[in-house]
Amino acid sequence: MSVESANTPTPRRKRSLFEELELDTRLLGMIGAFILVALVFNVLTDGRFLTPRNIFNLTIQTVSVAIMATGMVFVIVTRHIDLSVGAVLAACSALMAMTQVRILPGMGFEIGHWAIPWVAIAAGILLGALIGAFNGWLIGYQGIPAFIVTLGGFLIWRNVGWYQTNGQTIGPLDQTFMMFGGINGTLGGTVSWIIGVIAIVLAIFGIFNARRVKLAHNFPVKPMWAEVSLAVIATAAIAGFIGILTSYEVPARVVARDPAKYGCEVAEGCAAVYGLPISVLLLIAIAAIMTVVARKTRFGRYIFATGGNPDAAELSGINTRMLTVKIFMLMGVLCALAAVVASSRLANHSNDLGTLDELRVIAAAVIGGTALSGGIGTIYGAILGALIMQSLQSGMAMVGVDAPLQNIVVGAVLVVAVFIDIQYRKRMGAK
């Protein structure tokens, strides 16, 4: 007598492998699409696409858009839209760059003072939160459609940044600040593996703790072999990801510039790897927090309820206006964090930073299964969506596809992805 049959006395019909694993079929489809894209490009580029180096670059290029896409999920789930994220990113980046390059040094802080990057980041986050809250207030309390408010913001905020900087490129940015950019801030082999092991332990604990809680409430659970398989898949995925990132070696000439940074006395015979970028760690942390917010907090529950039926939410005593302010404020904060990553990756602030990001972010959320009709969307979907878009773009660039064709393909993929999603939902009988 196996464990699960003791808890489910009713006879069970024979179920397929996927049903037993209780995996999200949409998630599987997206992962499948992503793997297909990666494999095709790998063939077309004679194996250059799936090198540790390119995968490393792909992840750090995705981070900025992916961070904003997690917030866009909440915005779209509540039936709103935010067209101003790229412009808000530019405004926050301008303020942060001015703070660390001009304002704080002008106040007597010497270049490289430890407080400079943190004050700059705090200022950027504050600005993002204020802009977002203001947008949310206009939308929630004044009833101006989000499309209009953020279309205005799209024109306003980038140019507010322009005024701050007089249109100049501001740089070089603080050394510590630039650690958030990707290649300039990686954790190396050992720390990356420690984080990987922690992630694996957390994943396994999560899977079996959920099972324990379900059993405590006498809910049906998956068979043990399914849980174990999931744990094995999760372990393999995390270990594989860390393994790839830690096999990207720092070129010898880079090590030679500053051997001490890589833990060597002399450059000769010093081998070092990049490992997990801090920016990617930041994205993973944001994704985890946003997922918990979406699934396990009242705030998240109200976001999805309001998206599903605004009237029902209102009648249930939810303050949907204040909810709108909070959602857009969160979006603004995420724009500021994305601005940290985007500007530090380029080592300076330029006024065109984040141009067209609003469209990439919306596309990432939508490809990731967020429905514009509201109520449906996932954080991991949006991040996968961002990754798929970035893979397509850099893959086509590597293959040497003409620039106009690249945009045509990305546009077509967006529409086809939504088409497939709608067909899938119809077949599943949900709205």
Binding site: V213, K214, A216, H217, N218, F219, V292, K296, T297, R298, R301, Y302, F304, A305, T306, G307, G308, N309, D311, A312, A313, E314, L315, S316, G317, I318, G375, I376, G429, A430, K431
Partner: protein
């Protein structure tokens, strides 16, 4: 005996249309009061002022002999007023438990929503109200009209409503499910709840209610005990807007 609810001289207008005009009505514990009238007579509007969805222009609401301030659905819940709307007011994309506890989620010690406990509580109350209810994991959009209705009713019952407002509770239901709702109303009555029931079905109202109040063009035509009137009397009140007995 103090009435559970007294609405005194209540009025509300929408853009020049007097939707409810100086209406008074009361409700006692363990009583079912039916509201009848044509579409647009003002039944739903009257009741939405009690449930906090609309703010009245003038008049007073007294609950248990105390003057009540009801400005939002949250205020109404504070007075243990629960409403089952005609449109059901469920978030279609969420499951039954999330809907049942919407706005009043059970949380763990850390402040996170406790889905497992909410699901367990939902199983318990559904076993009582609708033993056939099995689709606990699916979004409520996948449920039948009757199942959705039982989620809405479960919400009112679980949170110990003292005053229950049911706006066309059987409109979307089949015969069996309608009987189930009727049974439930009798049971809740026994527990001492006061129920306002809105319906178009005069015969059903005569069976379920203790008193019926008839409205026409935003005004109260009259309130009668069901044993004192015939179905025809009620119909003439609805259609002609006057009480045949008073006229006689």
């Amino acid at each position: 005996m103090t009435p559970l609810v007294e609405m005194k001289n209540v009025s509300i207008a929408f853009g020049g249309v007097q939707a409810v005009d100086n209406v008074s009505i009361d409700l006692y514990p363990g009583e079912v009061v039916g509201l009848l009238g044509h579409n647009g007579a003002g039944k739903s509007t009257l009741i939405k002022m009690l449930s906090g969805a609309y703010k009245m222009d003038s008049g007073e609401i007294w609950i248990n002999g105390h003057k009540a301030q009801i400005h939002s659905p949250r205020d109404a819940r504070h007075y243990n007023i629960e409403t089952i709307y005609q449109t059901l007011a469920l978030a279609d994309n969420l499951d039954a438990a999330s809907n049942l506890f919407l706005g009043r989620e059970l949380t763990t010690g850390l402040g996170f929503v406790d889905d497992d406990r909410m699901e367990a509580e939902t199983r318990k109350i559904m076993a009582r109200l609708n033993p056939n209810f099995k689709k606990l994991k699916e979004p409520v959009s996948a449920l039948s009209g009757g199942q959705r209705q039982s989620v809405a009713i479960a919400r009112a019952v679980y949170f110990n409503a003292k005053i229950l407002i049911m706006d066309e509770p059987t409109a979307a239901l089949g015969v069996h499910e309608t009987a189930m709702v009727a049974e439930l109303i009798q049971e809740l009555k026994k527990q001492g709840l006061g129920i306002f029931l809105i319906s178009h079905d005069t015969r059903e109202m005569m069976e379920l209610c203790d008193r019926v109040a008839v409205m026409k063009n935003g005004q109260m035509v009259g309130t009668e005990r069901v044993e004192d009137v015939t179905e025809d009397d009620i119909l003439s009140m609805i259609i002609l807007g006057k009480n045949p007995k008073a006229a006689a």
